[in-house]
Subunit: 341 residues, 4 copies
């Protein structure tokens, strides 16, 4: 942490900062520039220290220079984390594709979609049983009945399943059914839920919050990692900006940034990232080209009858076409689709 | 809901939309413009319908024209909601001031602050016992011990208390101690928590999410209202924008907008809204001038020793000064400070 | 400027940075923390240096610690700048009100509005002769004919006039007619225009760009100041955010921030800041409460027939009412409306 | 355009809107829903009409349903625009690469870079002679001397050149030297400059403004097109968001959106889009995968000595490596690099 003194700060004020640091069992290192004095803080700093120092007389600014996330950082673990799900490995050289409906609606809808996405080459099946909804008057999922349907789909197709958990008290039941727990964008900073998901020791996919910086996202991952659960997968799904053409603005640059600063695998979700089915394929290809470890795609037998998010769902045919488009791009960046030779 | 057909749409596609509406027990009303045909949907619409219609051939856009929030809207209830807390009424002509530390730290800190803010004229005492924290390695509150301290502060000063609840399973215990439950910005779309807070039948202060539109904020209020709990207070606390000078950008225009579209009272929080103590007073005055029903202000005996949010906390002296500055502005807009003549 | 070395940086890399600084006639001051080494740069730094240093091996980040604006900063000039326009002084204890139509349309419209705003107590008359327009197919102003109408309004009412200049080649002609040149939000970084406006030696009102940080805004002011023209007035008019209810989000916190970091006066424009006439009054009061040195308000005899920005324009009656509401708020913050006792 | 009446609007208010439309030589078509009446406006509408109608009693909202851009839209011209530059065609099946330094600095720097990017396979050479700069105290380009250097680079390498024009009065001289005029992000709404660039009848590359919606960007393109100059190329270069890790957030979804709504070609600029050299390659690949018609890449012989934007510039080696990475991705999406078989 660096304390930047104001131009007008006198010796007394510099002394005051040094004394405060000493009182906190820290040590200050003076650096006098032409215009300002900067005090480097030596010792174990912590985020709240910033506020404390900012208030001392003569201090103009306090700049943290360590990154506050630890377990998720490349500095802590240089090699990539590999998350095993059944026979799949997420985060290595293989690219995985997760597909399925936004919400589980009927047995017929779930089973037909599971069969179709498997036939097209998907590796993991998704489907929401507990659904967050901006309005209390919209469809909010089938709950436990939806979990049962997902389990049946897994039984028939062999695909592992991922589904969202909304409440800390639901973690146990969802963990009984799901291979991967999903934490949704609105819950990225629901810290109680993060800790429960951590405790489950199941793989957890953590979606980026709508207005979360990359640093905040990694700090939320810390909540899971700190419970001893190292099976964390990040999911970029678009951020909120001023542009209204798309539902969100997919932040493709987050993919190589996470690759650089963290060892955790990253999946891209162009369905939520754009909100429009006809943008899903180009953004899926872009995400793979930028280095994503996988894709999550919404697929529905009849998007125009979906109870949720139909506008961003692909039909079976469109999904099969996307899988064919993805393959050469995966190869072009020197990787391979999971399960292919 | 309005269905905008594309310029190229033919009669067959228009027929298709009308047939779909009929199949859904709705009715379409054609409006042929020079360039495009628009179909007004007659009947009880619902948000998911938008996705369904957007996918039909020949449809260019679907525009919802009803506001999706109901119980919180002025159309539903034209007169202002008045929320009673002890002898106070929030949402009427009187302006109330909530003050206290970000987090409860020690008995001495809590009690001295409660006495100081009461002496300066505050009406409600705030203090966090359960604290959300971006990082798992930061201070997260004293928990139940903090609640006990707040209760003691109320006993001595007579000020009602407000404190945040983070987990659905904590609602009961927090409701035993607090006069008002606070839902924080990171939990604005934690729907399970909103419903539990609704069930408590206690007054609930709902902070705006960092990147929530006003419409989304009101929809979250619906979750509480829909449980039969009409004692909802909104709290504007700044939104996330590109400007980095302030921690958030306080959206002062949200104050008169909420006044126009909703009957719910609104409190402004310039401490979180700016993140800097020297901006708190000017933004507090601005909020009152724009029509806020009250203020929430962070106060700490020694901001430079605060465990949380010291940089945005006022000292006792600065808070007393603020109260003196607020009074004439309250009068200038034709209102009065609660408890004054 | 501070150079933050990465955790893994070795002595060779630290030496490399020091050698580079020496080569650039600068000097480095080492500060070794527990985790990282920081090198303070001693000597005259410049913005491009950041890029240079960021690329050296072992460097993790480079942090500028001087503010890049100079002539506009309080460090350069501690006392407030006072801009004289006729008998008015902008930036002192008096609050000034600028009012008039978005665009000059007809002689009748200009003259009747000038008379009405003068009668209601406005101090300066505004009106656009050269209008920027998002689309080439919209109304773009009357040009020189509009300037002539403004001059006539000044002659009759005695009010000084402000009008926008769009092109460097128009500065001369606009400066012949106007008392204050206005640089619009879309031209905040039209550097050629800024310099021409600076050269004119006329008072210049510089609107904040839609997505400009406060620092960028002050840097644009430097372009004018650096031409020896110290008569710069800043104008906050809303920034672009995700919220779509308002045309822009008015950044009220910019008012006290500018007051703190700069000596330049600041006018608030709630008409563009909100885009809706019914939000103009509450935001005008908020801006004054937060410390604005003045207001700029759009007024039109028949807003529903305005050629531009009717939705945000006040009628004569609404403007007169606003002036009555503003007066007590001005007094409540210890200032006075220009021209009153 | 659709006029949405408020729930409370009575027959008199509906009549009022219809009468106003008649007075304006338009016609209204009533659509009575269960909750609200909607009036479709029949006839030639225009953007200002929205403001006019919004102010009528009983009107809640007015929604434009035509897109305001015309000449740039796919509705106006269904087939792709092809812009010819020398023997190159931009906007067809071939992908073109523009490369060169941010700013022209010395003859040696310009010539060596031109030779290196040509050798690596670039098709067009870029370099700034007139440079916009946030601060008046930074390097602002060599001006005409820079243009001369670019011309020499073209003479030696045969590569066409693109360079930025900042002022309307410079269009002529820049057009004498450049094959493509570039309009920078800060000038996207400098309408006088757009018209002059249009008048030149040269190919014009129009960069997206930092906070411009896609619609505003296309409206700016209209200014050029409306001068009879159809050789317009769009350039996505990142938008301003809350994320501070990158200089801008590159909006990859703008690529397929522009492809859908406009016939104009689109180039992606990942150098400005990210601001960090190590993110340029992944974002370049992403842009091509998403359908960009070309790339613009900053290259410098010694990025750590660049006078401008060194942190985002590639070395010759890194650029050559990027060209090798791009080729298979171009092939994977069924296109080919210009000049290859």
């Amino acid at each position: 942490m660096l304390v930047i003194m104001s131009k007008e700060a006198g010796e007394g004020e510099i002394e005051g900062v040094l004394a405060k640091l000493t009182a906190l069992d820290l040590h200050g290192h003076l650096s006098r520039g032409m215009e300002r004095t900067v005090i480097g803080v030596i010792g174990q700093t912590y985020p709240e220290l910033r506020d404390t120092l900012e208030l001392l007389p003569g201090v103009e600014d306090v700049i943290p220079i360590s990154r506050p996330y630890k377990l998720s950082s490349r500095e802590f673990q240089p090699e990539d984390s590999l998350v095993k799900v059944g026979s799949l490995t997420i985060g290595g050289n293989e690219v995985v594709v997760i597909a399925g409906p936004c919400a589980t609606e009927t047995e017929e809808q779930v089973m037909s979609t599971a069969r179709a996405v498997k036939a097209a080459g998907a590796h993991i099946f998704r489907g929401g049983a507990f659904k967050p909804s901006t309005s209390p008057y919209q469809f909010r999922g089938l709950g436990k009945e939806g979990l049962r349907m997902l389990a049946q789909a897994r039984k028939e197709t062999g695909l592992p399943i991922i589904t969202e958990v909304l409440a800390p008290s639901d973690v146990d039941v969802v963990a009984q059914y799901a291979d991967i727990l999903q934490i949704g964008t609105r819950n990225m900073q629901n810290f109680v839920l993060l800790e429960e998901a951590g405790n489950s020791q199941k793989p957890v996919m953590l979606k980026r919050g709508m207005s979360a910086t990359i640093q905040e996202w990694l700090l939320s991952a810390e909540y899971i990692l700190a419970r001893g659960n190292r099976k964390v997968i990040l999911c970029e799904r678009g951020i909120r900006t001023f542009e209204t053409y798309t539902r969100n603005t997919m932040d493709i640059s987050a993919i190589p940034i996470v690759e650089k600063v963290s060892h955790l695998p990253l999946i891209a979700d162009p369905s939520h990232g754009t909100g429009k089915w006809y943008l899903v394929a180009p953004l899926a290809l872009a995400a793979v080209a930028a280095g994503a470890d996988g894709l999550m795609i919404e697929v529905h037998p009849n998007p125009d009858q979906a109870l949720k998010d139909g506008a961003q769902s692909l039909t079976f045919d469109n999904f099969a076409r996307l899988m064919q488009q993805v393959a050469p791009v995966v190869a072009a960046v020197g990787r391979k689709l999971a399960g292919t030779l």
